[in-house]
């Protein structure tokens, strides 16, 4: 098919198949998303981050991110070391590139924990209501009222510093809004006709939740996750800065800022450049999340 025919097929107001309807919906969403300049900028930043993380060994020598070379320590940016070198003579550019992997790993792991936990608590609370709802939401409210960074700090203190414990600590304070969101989405849909039809066909509650309701909850949950990513990255970097996240010699951006702090006045780039990486990444996720939310709001309105 030619481009024009594709377009017509995608924008057909009377789609002939479920597949066509779905692709058409995605295409219209993409069109309104890509018309939004800020959202596209965010999308490109996040895309670039993912590409850098995946292709890190192709972009730079993996050895350079950890190899110490005291003869070349604290050099300013040059053709050999684009962002200069740190206090142990490691190439800062290589460390930023490989740090993208750590950052993405953290957000992916936190997402992989909070989405199932949030759904697991929110879906039954919304679907069954009553005592189950009351108990589950009370627990959620308790966790919602916890100070995130401080609790993460206490957990990291008890479990020992490290990236896994940082992930657990962040996830533990991030899931409650997801449970609330899943509950709210479930409540608006539990009496819908397609759910009643499924009940009449003899579907079990578990099957209704997983096959009918989860697919409808997921978009708003994932948008919320995108919006939260920036906060997760900043919290993780904060834990890294305090020495409670990824441990040396891992090139974690927050820890890199902390080590550059010692030489801030004379070699400003050591602390400044990883901070810029954190900042750009979190701007990217914020813009992407805002854009996705706008598309979703326009669709539901």
């Amino acid at each position: 098919m030619s481009g024009v025919a594709w377009r017509a097929w995608l924008l057909d107001p009377a789609p002939a198949s479920r597949r066509q309807a779905r692709f058409g919906r995605w295409f219209r969403g993409w069109r309104s998303f890509s018309a939004n300049g800020m959202a596209m900028a965010g999308f490109l930043i996040v895309l670039a981050l993912v590409l850098i993380a995946v292709a890190a060994p192709l972009i730079t020598d993996p050895h350079a991110a950890v190899a110490q070379s005291l003869a070349h320590r604290l050099q300013p940016g040059s053709a050999a070391h684009w962002f200069g070198t740190d206090e142990l003579g490691r190439d800062i550019f290589a460390r930023i590139v490989f740090g993208a992997r750590i950052t993405l790993t953290i957000v992916a792991l936190v997402g992989a924990i909070v989405v199932p936990v949030g759904l697991g608590i929110g879906l039954p609370a919304g679907y069954f209501g009553g005592a189950i709802d009351a108990v589950l939401m009370r627990v959620t409210d308790i966790f919602l009222a916890f100070p995130r960074l401080v609790l993460a700090l206490a957990f990291a203190a008890a479990l020992g510093p490290g990236i896994n414990n940082a992930v657990v600590a962040i996830a533990l304070t991030t899931w409650p809004p997801y449970a609330r969101l899943a509950r709210a989405e479930t409540i608006t849909r539990r009496n819908a006709e397609f759910v009643q039809a499924a009940v009449l066909q003899g579907a079990t509650p578990a099957s209704i939740l997983f096959r009918q309701i989860v697919p409808l909850c997921l978009p708003s949950v994932l948008i919320r996750l995108t919006l939260d990513m920036a906060g997760i990255i900043i919290t993780a970097a904060g834990l890294g800065f305090l020495g409670l996240g990824a441990q040396p010699p891992a090139p974690e951006w927050g820890a890199m800022v902390a080590s550059g702090r010692q030489v801030l006045l004379d070699q400003w780039w050591v602390a400044t450049i990883p901070g810029i990486a954190i900042f750009v990444t979190s701007v990217g996720f914020n813009l992407l999340g805002d854009g996705l939310r706008d598309v979703a709001d326009a669709r539901s309105a």
Binding site: A145, L153, G160, I234, F241, G275, I278
Partner: protein
């Protein structure tokens, strides 16, 4: 307001009692949840507290005796009950570093945290609310875009990094502000602590030199935290205002002939204050917990730095005590914002 109360068919405070009760119950439950979590953290820590006291060379009898003395041989629920009793009496144990009760330590460092977070909150609200309103009124035009970008940068910025860059630029390079810490060394111990908030103490004592020095130290961290708070407050104000400006009463008020400014700043903003109170309370809470990072960067001897130092000296009592204090402050802020709701929003009073 009087008309509305009459229409509601009862006293303006009807329903408040139940609301307060419900809020209090949920506050108590949240507090208990917090104690369970800190208790749990205190138990899973890999350091054996008995060994820390008796040392590795102690005999088995000594070990068992100390273990019984600190109650570790009791069933877990009993241990929790003892812990809860202590916490409710303000007993968080003794700090290993300072050998003082943790509560006393925290009371002495907390004013420093307040001295930093209160001006920051004021900056955030005083600038954030008008900016958010201005953005909403000019939706889609350049003031809106500018304000959105400024606030986007604010809530995307890692505070510890902004603090370092600020120190580098305004202290090291430009010399406009004083460096880390609360006072220059020469000004230490001139003013006796009354409130513990140095600027206030200096004014009370009439030591204007100390006051000026304290302000010079305060201005950079307070501005940076204020900027981050402003970013969040402006963003939320904008989105609440957009919701209000779409309502029909705005159109009705304009059609009635009220000035645009009056409709925006009195009618629409008046309705926005209700959710904004929660936002402001949350901002204050995040300033208190973010203190761990800012105080580290600025060597500011408040609660955050105290917790961080305790953390790295394995002083678990102090860390958990700090967690309890910040957590309780959080719960208290939630409570205050819940209770302020009906004062600002008449609809919240009439709910059954």
């Amino acid at each position: 307001m009087a008309v509305r109360a009459a229409a509601g068919g009862g006293l303006p405070w009807r329903g408040v009692g139940r609301r307060v009760l419900r809020t209090l119950v949920s506050m108590v439950l949240t507090f208990l949840g917090l104690t369970v979590v800190t208790f749990f953290i205190g138990r899973v820590i890999p350091i054996d507290p008995v060994l820390a006291i008796v040392g590795a060379k102690a005999s088995n009898e000594t070990y068992d005796r100390v273990r019984a003395e600190i109650g570790l041989d009791l069933p877990v629920p009993v241990q929790y009950w003892r812990y809860l009793e202590k916490v409710l009496h303000g007993d968080f144990g003794t700090s290993v570093i300072t050998s003082q009760p943790v509560l006393q330590d925290m009371l002495s460092v907390f004013p420093a945290t307040l001295e930093l977070s209160i001006p920051a909150l004021l900056i955030g609200v005083v600038f954030g609310v008008p900016l958010g309103v201005a953005a909403a009124v000019n939706r889609g035009r350049w003031p809106d875009h500018l304000i959105r970008v400024v606030s986007l940068f604010g809530y995307s910025m890692p505070v510890f990094w902004l603090g370092l860059v600020g120190l580098l630029a305004f202290y090291a390079k430009l010399g406009w502000v004083a460096g880390p810490g609360r006072l220059d060394v020469g000004y230490d111990d001139i003013v006796a602590p009354v409130t513990g908030i140095i600027t206030v103490d200096a004014l009370l004592a009439g030591e204007y030199g100390v006051f000026a020095n304290a302000v010079q130290h305060l201005i950079l961290p307070a501005s940076i935290l204020g900027y981050l708070s402003m970013a969040y407050v402006a963003r939320m104000t904008r989105s609440f205002m957009l919701g209000q400006l779409r309502q029909e009463y705005v159109l009705a008020a304009l059609a009635k002939g009220l000035s645009h400014a009056r409709v925006v700043w009195v009618h629409a903003l008046g309705n926005v204050w209700v959710p904004l109170i929660t936002v402001i309370a949350l901002t204050f809470g995040s300033l208190l917990e973010g203190a761990v990072l800012t105080e580290t960067v600025f060597s500011w001897p408040g609660l955050g730095l105290y917790m961080k130092n305790s953390l790295f000296n394995a002083d678990l009592n102090a860390v958990l005590g700090g967690t309890m204090v910040v957590g309780s402050a959080y719960i208290l802020l939630n409570l205050i914002s819940d209770l302020l709701y009906p004062l600002v929003d008449p609809r919240a009073r009439e709910r059954p």
